[in-house]
Symmetry: C2
């Protein structure tokens, strides 16, 4: 690892060599830009305290990025890629300082048509939606932070979200078609990697390659109606949500179930329903909404909010921004002693498990359930439960109780890729890093497998189908 002094020196040299780039050197600004939403986790807040970059650069095009990468490789300076910083795992927080590369300048749509889009990593997801919808298409899946979140950020550290009820997570075969990456070498190479190998760079926190562009398949756009329906009984709310989920003829983009008191945390909405009610937020295609109207009374629910998604988005009032980790954000704004979990229920018995956990943890863990298809197309549920935080020990004990009830935990309170969703050290992911970032300069410390690479059997050419862009110099 470089010393502070060595890094400062390297940065000074690079800055002098590339003075035309957009540099940020003020300490307060660097500190701010080195944060994301990892403060959702009291554990990450503690572990990441004081971690930050030494400088931030915002390349305006691929050529500026290339110059920067070239310089970092020459000086062996760590670099970490930054999108819009809407993640909650500290993905972008540099553990070993170095350069923070703000990718939001690379924000162009490269190609749009035939149900696909190829765009630069720094583009905001909302901008893809805005460009695609007039052509009759929309994103297949996107986080609740789509207004700010970047494509590269979603790819490097995201999951899916809104739309995953149809298409599964971003990682499900068919959603990502290819990525364009830059290597971290003195003479950086640019490769196009088709799926499925492209997925080896997904959710690796930007440790094993610099994503320049992502090519995605799109979904046909629908006229969505956003609904918030309320229920006095949790089981009724669950059953209503699940009936929506399990009707293949009911076209939807999103179904979330929020146990009381979660909806009471929604300061801008809570006047529309009674305190203490359970809520279901859904996005339903216009042609399917009649079915909700007939399902709702059967489950003793009533409608509290109903709006056209298009119109709601125009005035920044979309209910999509009350789902997935926006739910957590709204709650934490009201009560900053809360934290959250990430859980995956069993496709064969998620309704029972959800009820059981809601009853078991009454008051301490609040059910926030998102319905989705898993990577094999099974309808199932995942949880972003809110937790009244007391101690790390209790938080870990709670997670263990979920595990003991066969609910999988994707721990969001850990720093390294492998300790969260990925679960294990994946030699193929590490091999990609060896191939694209041989000196290990990208986001050091985040990929646990890298430190153990000598003990792994690594494929020397893990991206066999990648094609190299001919150098443009």
């Amino acid at each position: 690892m470089m010393t502070d002094e060595q890094r400062q020196h390297a940065i000074a040299v690079i800055q002098q060599a590339l003075p035309a780039l957009e540099w940020t050197l003020q300490p307060a600004k660097i500190k701010r830009l080195s944060r994301d939403f990892h403060w959702f986790s009291p554990l990450l807040t503690e572990q990441l305290a004081g971690k930050q970059a030494d400088a931030v650069v915002r390349p305006r095009d691929e050529e500026e990025l290339r110059q920067l990468v070239c310089a970092c490789a020459q000086h062996q300076l760590p670099l970490t890629l930054r999108g819009s910083a809407t993640g909650n795992y500290g993905q972008l927080v540099p553990l070993e300082g170095g350069l923070l590369v703000d990718m939001t300048g690379l924000n162009q749509i490269v190609a749009l048509g035939n149900g696909t889009v190829r765009a630069q990593a720094g583009i905001r997801l909302a901008d893809i939606e805005t460009a695609a919808r007039p052509t009759g298409w929309e994103l297949r899946c996107m986080p609740s932070t789509y207004r700010l979140a970047s494509l590269g950020g979603l790819y490097g550290g995201g999951f899916g979200g809104i739309g995953s009820i149809n298409y599964g997570p971003l990682a499900a075969p068919g959603n990502v078609l290819s990525v364009k990456v830059m290597t971290v070498e003195p003479v950086p190479r640019v490769l196009t990697v088709p799926a499925p190998e492209a997925l080896l760079l997904h959710h690796a926190y930007g440790t094993n390659g610099i994503i320049l562009e992502v090519e995605l398949a799109l979904a046909p756009a629908h006229q969505w109606i956003e609904r918030l329906d309320v229920f006095d009984d949790f089981a009724d709310a669950l059953n209503y949500a699940n009936a929506c989920v399990r009707s293949p003829g009911l076209v939807k983009r999103q179904v979330a179930l929020l146990a009381t008191p979660i909806a009471d945390y929604f300061s801008h909405l809570k006047d529309r329903y009674r305190t203490g009610q359970h809520a279901v937020i859904s996005l339903i295609a216009e042609e399917s909404e009649g079915l909700c109207a007939s399902l709702l009374p059967r489950h003793r629910g009533s409608n509290a909010i109903r709006q056209f998604s298009e119109e709601a988005r125009t005035r920044n009032g979309s209910l999509m921004e009350y789902c997935w980790n926006h739910t957590t954000l709204h709650a934490l704004k009201v009560d900053n002693t809360l934290t959250y979990l990430q859980t995956a229920f069993d496709p064969l018995r998620y309704p029972q498990q959800i009820l059981q956990m809601e009853q078991h943890f009454a008051g301490e863990v609040m059910s926030h359930i998102e319905f989705l298809r898993d990577i094999e197309g099974n309808l199932t549920a995942s949880g972003l439960q809110l937790v009244r935080y007391t101690t790390p020990e209790r938080l870990n004990a709670i997670m263990q109780i979920f595990r003991d009830n066969d609910v999988k935990i994707n721990n969001p309170h850990v720093l390294q890729v492998e300790d969260g969703k990925q679960g294990v050290i994946r030699p193929d992911v590490v091999a990609v890093k060896q191939s694209l970032d041989p000196a290990g300069l990208l986001n050091p410390g985040k990929l646990r497998g890298w430190a153990l690479r000598d003990q792994l059997e690594l494929d020397s050419n893990p991206l066999t189908r990648a094609t190299r862009e001919s150098p443009t110099t």
Copy 2:
């Protein structure tokens, strides 16, 4: 039951009263129009031998139909509705003679827009597709006979088919929005019945109400690519098909698996692949096809046919017409000693069951597997296996072996609604008949529950949400 003489007399009187209607009275023509594809079943062929109408009428509009229904009700003459006669259960074959009402004159699209269509029962499904596609929509599900099959026929005796891999069967909540029906009474009423009650008239063989119009939700139209891929090993073909099915990011409209020698029966295609190969026919969205190309070699398959669906349809060469019961038709054209089954596999272990049954019946029962979502959104498989027919006893024994292996049989060799897919006598379906056809004139003999209506507890008003059209006289 009326005698032959009584019926002849009634028809003569009605014909005299309504001479302007389009009557068919030539015996040969009546006989021909009284048939459908029930000859797929040697058992039905025998049971329905000699069954036919006494006359056929083709009303040109709702008013002509109303006059006819009014007359039938006055004379207590049985009437059976006929679409395009592409069914295979003898749905339209009159068991007790009477009038056969050819509905193909009522073939207008009433409303199209916002992802829904309302059309008259006699319209061909292909005509809905043709009208909807330029607006960016298509049918959610349709039989392989869509070129001829009528909307009312699909509703009265059909299932779903192409597209059910996404939307489930036609009966899945959300696919049908409402139906307009006419009662069989001296003064016929016209009612609009919203879903879910509308479904009480679905797959009842037209016994419990005259469907005038059906309102359907549509699917966004995609550019589909039709593929026929071939494999030397059945398990490879199964695994490839299932990988397509279970990738939520792979957008498809149809996936069928055909064990050898089924593809060899396809006279117009068989030069494109070797004899003895297993085939998978799929319709894949253009933006998803790259995934097939990467899945195929992994399962040791190769592509034999690839064509754009739009173009194939224009020249009447669509591979959709080799799926569902068109598969059976192509095989029977080559070998008329064959017959078929209808089976439903278990969503939790259909791949194992499919392999097991293919091995068990090698040579006698040929696996023709269709993948779909069931009514609860589970991905699963159903079979339209081809059978080398020997005796009724052996056919029944084969079906029993499937049942013994937990594969459900929807017997296509029986006459009555309840003995096939419906499985049991449904008092709500019978109650609809009592309400809309109080004298039991519609397609008599097909609804077993009707004869037992005195032993059932029938709701006197089963269509509470129906609205009545104000009389137009």
